[in-house]
Symmetry: C2
DNA sequence: ACCTGAACACCGTTCAAGT
DNA sequence: ACCTGAACACCGTTCAAGT
């Protein structure tokens, strides 16, 4: 729409939030594979290196994007956890799977950074630990259980590659059953 | 060692096996991240595009490398499976974890191709299904169980990134415990 | 502080040509 | 059939300079 090219020193009016918003758009349009610094700059109508004023590097961008995605997972409230802790755990994991499976090509990055350390990720971790405690699982066992549940859910989401031979419905079913099995084991029958 | 540069038409004496062997070397030296077509060509003292005579593309190379890695997992024999099927399952998964954790940065690729379809991968799948059958799990349930066990094992191996804050020993412990829980659930207490 | 231009050291892959 | 040279369309990141 007639955006004039800028010379050196002319501002584009970017900030960390605008960069994230653009990253979201590139992510849904071109997938995680297509989310490059240069493609992101193109989306913003900006020189590639301009991004480094708002993001320290691509790793920082990944952290931003991943926690943004995890922010879409609904968090069960305390009364719900108290009423049905096991149901709450099942729900968090099922909801997480649904959100994660939207971007299966993003999951490798999540696993490779050991489950994401962002604000949203930690929030999900805390409520799951609370639910486990309410279900009678605490201490080392709870930490183990949380990690197993995360690896399982992220792993199945990663398993659901776009051009995959296996339909997502089937993988969703696998994930649900794995949840049953894990909870049986964790809760000690 | 005085290797003369070749002109067009001069053979380098490559074959699919030599390419794989070089890929193995690059993989241990520079990691999965450093295993590029160009780096592989450099290792072989050959032009980058020369590889396309022995490998259809990089995806094909990944398939080759992944199945090669999986080939290092010891396969339990039939008598062992018959004697202690559950122990055999536990052993295959633990052994797989040990082999896979050697190249944690390779695991994202494995998950993204839905568990590897190579010869070695299928062999491991068949013996695990046999062990499940011997333990009384068959049909759909066995197929589900196999997939859950694979996702869990590959997922934990992916979780063990090199520069990770979490030591491998701890992740190995998590994996062992997750195996217990899963088997408890799968075998119906 | 926020941006551009130019550059560096990379990628995967294709196409034409040589033997 | 197996290889090289050259090229195309990309990467992430840094450095100097402009306002």
């Amino acid at each position: 729409m007639g955006t004039q090219p800028r010379g050196p020193g002319q501002r584009a009016g970017l900030d960390r939030n605008a960069v994230l918003a653009a990253a979201r758009r590139v992510l849904v349009d071109r997938g995680a594979h297509g989310l490059s610094m240069r493609a992101l700059a193109r989306e913003l109508g900006v020189a590639p290196n301009a991004l480094y004023s708002h993001v320290s590097d691509k790793n920082d961008l990944w952290d931003l994007v991943i926690d943004d995605v995890l922010g879409h997972v609904p968090v069960p409230d305390e009364t719900q956890i108290a009423a049905d802790p096991v149901g709450a755990i099942r729900e968090v994991m099922a909801d997480s799977f649904e959100v994660l499976v939207t971007h299966p090509d993003l999951m490798p990055q999540i696993l490779a950074r050991q489950g994401a350390r962002g604000v949203q990720a930690q929030k999900l971790g805390v409520v799951t630990l609370n639910a486990l405690a309410a279900a009678g699982v605490a201490g080392d066992e709870a930490r183990d259980a949380l990690r197993v549940l995360i690896v399982n859910t992220v792993g199945f989401a990663a398993f659901a590659v776009e051009d995959g031979v296996i339909p997502v419905d089937e993988i969703r079913g696998n994930h649900a059953r794995s949840l049953d099995w894990l909870l049986t084991g964790i809760l000690g029958r």
